[in-house]
């Protein structure tokens, strides 16, 4: 099987797909009836609606054939079964196991990897209980009330997005045990500003680096250890490590506790491993985190359906490929109508662009078609007062992914002018979908909206921890399926390596001068 993965443009279905007549007028396409039928359940109380996508039955049927011809669900099964799907790094891809057993048990070096992840989770849960009970305290004897995660990239964006997504809801249901902040950037202002706002005596730091060699994270660890010592606190009593068992950080003595991950869970897919789980369990308790995992697990199971109308992640992926490769759209905007999801687009930006921003296939051959799109977005209604102008009337068409909820985390807000804040939020959401699709004619040319802007809508009753997990897994699986369709390795990131190598040369090979002098000097060094 391994050498049989096809390129997208080698398939009959894709060749046919781009010759099908496109949906020409969304104004007639998008009807009240279609809204009721053009949707896929994502488990109880969560739905993927594609009524406002420019796909009709002929296009959908061809997308189904494309999925079948490329055997993308079989590829997912291979991945679940422990195949080396990250070929360039010779690694399995096992993040699904961090939230449950979807496929067979995967063993490696005599270890059941699923139970390895579960064990780490249980260790975190036990540890969190002792912290919340006040059994584990800071070196000055204070209870820990605050967390600070030190990590970058996948060790920061996913956990941070999930923390923000869960925080207000957790507080409303009385399960916020600790608050959290984040140090990621090597910019010294990031650590300095965070430290200035913290009571170190009550803060537990979670140091996250799989390799244990991330420059930014190790630098910030040293700064934090120094700050703790300056206040007479013992760093070893305030720092946790989340790392691989074979990393230089896997050194018990320097840390209060260590939790482990392995090479089969990539950074951007690690939010449900100890990378996100340590922070989220300490902040909100093991029960809430278990709900999140259950929500993610359910999406992982749905992703096994070979019928694309019963597999929302696959359908979403296929429509995205149609938009990217047949219609030629270069970007996708993610627009959650929920302030709690304010950093979810930033996480998806990494997840998607780092996974599928590739130009060679899994055999290293150059590709003749576009792969990953630019992903960006902000929470609605904020985005409406910002970049939506271009989305409505700009010269390029940008496909949209809306996310909405019937109710807020807390109450739905005061009734002002006869309706609650949440009513207003949702009226805006629905109005935007309709405006983007249908547009508007006007006598005044600058008030004409061409419409024909396709969007999908994922909606639920409320952004519970289960739904947060489901959203996370939905997009992870969408990105995975798109990688299969484009025939790229979605699980490596060689594009970040060159910068690291050059940075190291700069730090060792030339003087550290003002920005321009460093720039010029470095080019001088490079010149023959």
């Amino acid at each position: 099987m391994e050498n049989s993965y096809k390129n997208l443009d080698e398939t009959d279905a894709f060749k046919q797909l781009c010759t099908l007549p496109p949906v020409m007028d969304m104004n007639t396409h998008l009807t009240a009836e279609l809204v009721q039928t053009a949707q896929v359940p994502m488990g109880e109380d969560l739905t993927y609606n594609y009524a406002a996508k420019a796909v009709d039955e002929a296009i959908l049927a061809t997308l189904q054939r494309l999925a079948d011809e490329m055997a993308v669900v079989d590829q997912y099964r291979e991945l679940l079964g422990g195949a080396v799907m990250n070929g360039s790094e010779q690694r399995k891809v096992l993040h699904h196991l961090t939230r449950g057993q979807v496929g067979p048990i995967v063993e490696w070096q005599g270890r059941d990897l699923g139970s390895f992840y579960v064990t780490q989770q249980q260790r975190v849960a036990d540890f969190a209980r002792r912290v919340h009970a006040g059994e584990i305290r800071g070196s000055g004897g204070d209870r820990f009330t605050h967390l600070c995660q030190i990590g970058i990239g996948g060790s920061d964006l996913g956990p941070r997005a999930l923390y923000l997504a869960l925080q207000h809801g957790a507080r409303c249901r009385g399960s916020q045990f600790m608050t959290a902040s984040f140090i990621s950037n090597v910019d010294p202002d990031d650590a300095a500003q965070n430290l200035a706002n913290m009571d170190l005596a009550t803060t537990m730091f979670i140091l996250v680096s799989k390799s244990g060699t991330t420059q930014e994270t190790l630098t910030n660890e040293t700064i934090v250890r120094h700050a703790l010592q300056q206040q007479g606190l013992d760093p070893a009593a305030h720092l946790l490590a989340v790392t691989a068992e074979n990393s230089p950080l896997a050194n018990g003595e320097d840390y209060l506790e260590s939790f482990y991950i392995d090479d089969f869970v990539g950074g951007r897919f690690s939010s449900t491993s100890a990378v996100g789980g340590t922070l989220l369990t300490l902040a909100f308790g093991a029960e809430l985190f278990a709900e999140l995992l259950a929500g993610a697990h359910q999406q992982d199971q749905l992703a096994l359906n070979s019928d694309i109308l019963a597999n929302p992640a696959l359908l979403d992926a296929l429509i995205g490929v149609y938009e990217r490769n047949c219609l030629g759209y270069p970007c996708t905007a993610v627009l959650p109508y929920s302030q709690a999801l304010s950093r979810f687009p930033a996480h998806l930006q990494q997840l998607d662009m780092e996974s599928n921003g590739k130009s060679v296939n899994r055999y290293g051959q150059p590709l003749n078609y576009a792969t990953g799109a630019v992903i960006f977005g902000e929470a609605g209604t904020n985005g409406q007062h910002s970049f939506y102008q271009l989305l409505h009337q700009g010269s390029d068409i940008i496909p949209l992914q809306f996310i909405g909820f019937r109710h807020a985390h807390g109450d739905d807000g005061l009734n002002v002018d006869g309706c609650s804040s949440q009513d207003k939020l949702n009226a805006n959401l629905v109005a935007q979908i309709v405006a983007f699709a249908k547009g508007r004619d006007s006598e005044e040319p600058n008030r004409v909206f061409a419409g024909q802007r396709p969007s999908s809508l994922i909606y639920a009753e409320r952004l519970t921890p289960r739904i947060v997990g489901a959203l996370l897994a939905h997009f992870e699986n969408k990105v995975m399926f798109q990688g299969f369709l484009w025939n790229v390795n979605s699980f490596d990131q060689e594009g970040v390596q060159l910068g690291k190598v050059l940075t190291q040369q700069l730090l060792t090979g030339c003087t550290r001068d003002a920005v321009l002098q460093g720039y010029a000097a470095y080019l001088g060094v490079l010149q023959p």
Copy 2:
């Protein structure tokens, strides 16, 4: 003059521009010598460097001819002189006057508008002094120590980005007088979560809406007034209004104080008016805000130079048009290597996409060329661990705008492995520019970097308030010049109006039900 604005593609210079041979190999183009010469001073200690842009002397000469042929500096002079440059709304465009007199005095209805803006600024400064001195206190007798800005779009993004840009530096120099938070979204969780984290007795709210009719802002005002009353506090003693003199909010009795703006300063260009100035002056003092204004004013003066090599905003605009319209690039990434600028890209996203995301020219005629690009970005080094993979190895080329500083706001960080955090930050910055331009060959195809990714670099010694103001104005002026080049009205935003109209229909015309029911019901209402 008014009917003489040309479309970009009607000019001889543009027709020639796209036929010039492009810079084929950035590997040989980008040299240490070029880094020293391919730059434009932006006043003392700030420089725009375009060595890593794919432009040579022939292209630059043609860009100069394009600027001359379209008379873009003359158009800027017209704007400064009070011409109605926002034609669709029949408004002048006067945000430059909020930071100084660049052109002639502009009078309107017998009033010198420049001195109107200055007067508002002085009123804010006087007010802030009395607050800082404890002369003005909350209704419970407490000193005000915290600010909460209630606004959305331009009343939120710019002020928030500037607050974050200035905060750590202000603290380091001892001029942070008050802290600040922001309520923007109509999502009730935004207000609820913010309010839960505040001591209302010591909080001053700044309500910002030029029209006084912004749905989100008025709804949040009601929520805040209710919360204050619930705690026995008098809302009129805790709320400021920043609004137009003819707005429904311009009602002294309900507010502790009101500061005014007018229709000639658009929301996304209003950061240096009372919209941003009230918050920033209260937070950091009048002196610091005056430095910011001086930095912005200096860029406004530089933008008068007709020589594009002495006009950094114009050169930046022209290179962007070359990349967009001759090379066909659909996006631009903004990458500040400074955590303090973490939300600056979100502000630029509104500034640029809302201004130039247009499809008709200033006479309402459809355009046959691309206008505003998608703008996105995050602070470096964070972005390196996220979407840079696609920037390096994705199938599309995305032009890049780097911003860097020799020193941090505070100290440059501990020496770890022989160099400070700031050294590491800058080594990363320079390494990325070089990696994007020059790429790398490799035996392993997935480790090949094609290079040829163009970038510019704006750099300074330190992110002082003056430099923050300069960066803000640079990008405002760049966006303005690009609007002139594309012959669009950069100062209206009809694309946000349709959503507002449809939202209102939804809130009045159909039941406020679950998201899907609202969606379907609304489409049912729309159907004939």
